[in-house]
Amino acid sequence: MSGQRTGREPVAVVGIGQTKHAAARRDVSLAGLVREAALRALDDAQLSWADVDAVVLGKAPDFFEGVMMPELYLADALGAAGKPVLRVHTAGSVGGSTALVAADLVAARVQRTVLAVAFEKQSESNAMWGLSLPVPFQQPLLAGAGGFFAPHVRAYIRRSGAPGGVGALVAYKDRRNALRNPWAHLHEHGITLEQVRSSPMLWDPVRYSETCPSSDGACAVVLTDRAGAARAPHPPAWVHGGAMRSEPTLFAGKDFVSPRAGRDCAAEVYRQAGITDPRREIDVAELYVPFSWYEPMWLENLGFAAEGEGWKLTASGATEPGGELPVNPSGGVLSTNPIGASGLIRFAEAALQVRGTAGEHQVDGARTALGHAYGGGAQFFSMWVVGRRPPTT
């Protein structure tokens, strides 16, 4: 890895925690939910609340729970009294952006140890309602997130010439991967490819089993500097690059199949990490895939496959756990989707892989991993590359 960010403090991930994700975590308040993930991350790092210098909190739109400025209400639960607390909001990509804001505080030597937390408690509201407020003078779309994204999937299939069954392969893989991840929401024991293929068609071409669930959950990571990493009880994951890019929801020339903001974000994060051939140099990727077909779409957008070739990579089995480029060994968003936390879970899972602590879904010998998140109308992107070795500066 080349040191493309001279002058920045190297940033290490020394603690990772997440909740048991579920359709409804009625046993905990919002405070109890974020607390569960944060405590696990602190325990992993063997740090106490007093060791944390700042807290960065992310979640998707406030309407998803109806708590305005939740960072204020949650400050006590996150030990933020007397410390800076920041709120990040970039729709579905927010979990990733939250980690990057926290990492930048360390890299800029503003803080030494920062706790990044992201959550969603979807059971307290209705995301479909929250995404389709009745704006006057506009025709209601009334198709929900699936209806918004399904036409883009059809456009991808047409543009790439992919055979119809590739999406089902992704869903079948990710749902089976989730069986090796104890935190995952969906544990569909005995799921078969035939069950995926014959599940109800919700928004043709997207089937029920190719759609993310609605989850309650939180994720937290502890980020620290070189000195903090040296004191850490377990091997850290090192941040080799982090980037965010955005673009408008709609504009003439917008490419929903392969958004430019996603391509630019990937190019920047690879530049920082000194990666020139992502398919060869990245060992495992945790990608934000809320609908199955987004796996081949992102494989192209992120440069793992040439345009129109992503589905071939998926169909070849390369993205299976034992494949050349395992994608979403955790089960991904297709198995767990507390929206605001989903991006941070991708980032955290990438870090778990390079630390060698992913448990049953560990990819053997993973040294470099990509965490990816996107949100809004495919308009916000955030990514990081983490590695087993510290960046050379």
Binding site: R35, E124, P134, F137, Q139, P151, R158, P205, F251
Partner: protein
């Protein structure tokens, strides 16, 4: 210049809350006319209680019962109560430190006027007749005269009320296990926001044309792209757009999905086709429903035209025109 449109926008939803152990005990306690606080690591009693210590961040679970009487620590008079506020008549917003507590609770005080309210006055809870396990189980606070105390000699002195309040405040909160029959574990908190929405000048121009069954976009003076519906600015170049141009009415289905699940509150029968339509002359697709053809016969490249029904401003749907399908190359940039 057409008139600038405005309309009310109401956002409301009955949010649910999982309470967790501490709020569950607090709200269930109110139902049983018992006010619970929580004791912090440094020995203070917080009312209402929280789950985590504001100083140490440690988990705190030692509940304590405080008195239904207390002292006003500050207040503000509300001369004109609004809908859904706790009292129909003018009242005081008050912070009340209940006897045995170290922090104050926000609530309302039923008083005849601001002349009857002062910081330091003694108040007590007036319980709601019907209690469900909610903060509104405290109907309001009301002025309260302490019984003549044990310290009779001090009663005539100026400031005796405050003295009694101080003594009462030192009455320790009693430990409580927080256990009640049929605990409340979740509540519903309806929220409602009322906005006045205005779509702005560019959208108002577009909407005025729609009322005449014309669909208009605006052309960017820099990149020459036509945006429909217009925002008054080119999202790519960041420059204002002023040149209105009529697009369509015919267009091409660039991509679509078939919606098979009924959305809440939608009056549309499923399945229906939700499509991206590039109107002739527009540089991006708009989104609309396709009708007048079985859903499974809709295809990319199909030529369509808008159908207006009644006095609706927007086309109800788009129907096939019967023209030959457009070649993929003519719309592949507009998916």
């Amino acid at each position: 210049m057409p008139e600038i449109l405005t309309a009310p926008l109401t956002v409301s939803f009955p949010f649910t809350r999982s309470l967790g152990p501490v709020q569950s005990a607090f709200l269930t306690g109110l139902r049983e006319r018992t006010v619970l606080g929580v004791r912090t690591t440094d020995g203070r009693v917080l009312v209402p209680p929280v789950e985590y210590d504001p100083v140490t961040a440690g988990e705190i679970r030692d509940l304590a019962e405080v008195a239904p009487t207390g002292t006003v620590t500050t207040w503000a008079w509300n001369p004109a109560p609004r809908d859904k506020q706790p009292l129909r008549t003018p009242f005081a917003w008050v912070l009340v430190r209940l006897d045995g507590a170290d922090t104050a609770l926000l609530h309302v005080l039923d008083a005849p006027g601001p002349h009857a309210v002062r910081t330091g006055m003694r108040v007590r809870i007036r319980w709601a007749p019907e209690r469900t396990g909610a903060i509104t189980d405290i109907g309001c606070f009301e002025p309260y005269e302490d019984e003549p105390g044990e310290d009779e000699t001090a009663a005539g002195k100026a400031g005796a009320g405050e003295d009694r309040a101080r003594e009462a405040g030192h009455r320790p909160a009693a430990p409580h296990d927080g256990v009640f029959d049929a605990p409340v574990t979740g509540i519903v908190t309806p929220a409602r926001l009322d906005y006045t929405y205005t779509p702005g000048r560019a959208m108002s121009r577009h909407l005025a044309a729609l009322a005449e069954h014309r669909i208009t976009g605006e052309r960017c003076p820099s990149c020459r792209k036509v945006h429909v519906p217009p925002r008054g600015v080119c999202p790519t170049c960041g420059v204002p757009t002023t040149e209105q141009t009529e697009v369509g009415p015919h267009g091409t289905v660039t991509t679509f999905c078939v919606v098979n699940i009924k959305a809440k509150g939608a009056g549309i029968d499923v399945p229906y086709v939700y499509a991206h339509i590039a109107l002739d002359g527009a540089d991006l697709a708009l989104h609309a429903r396709i009708g007048g053809i079985p859903y499974d016969e809709v295809r990319m490249g199909m030529r369509v035209a808008p159908v207006w029904t009644g006095d609706a401003r927007h086309p109800d749907h788009f129907r096939p025109t019967g023209e030959p399908d457009a070649a993929y190359d003519t719309y592949k940039e507009l998916l």
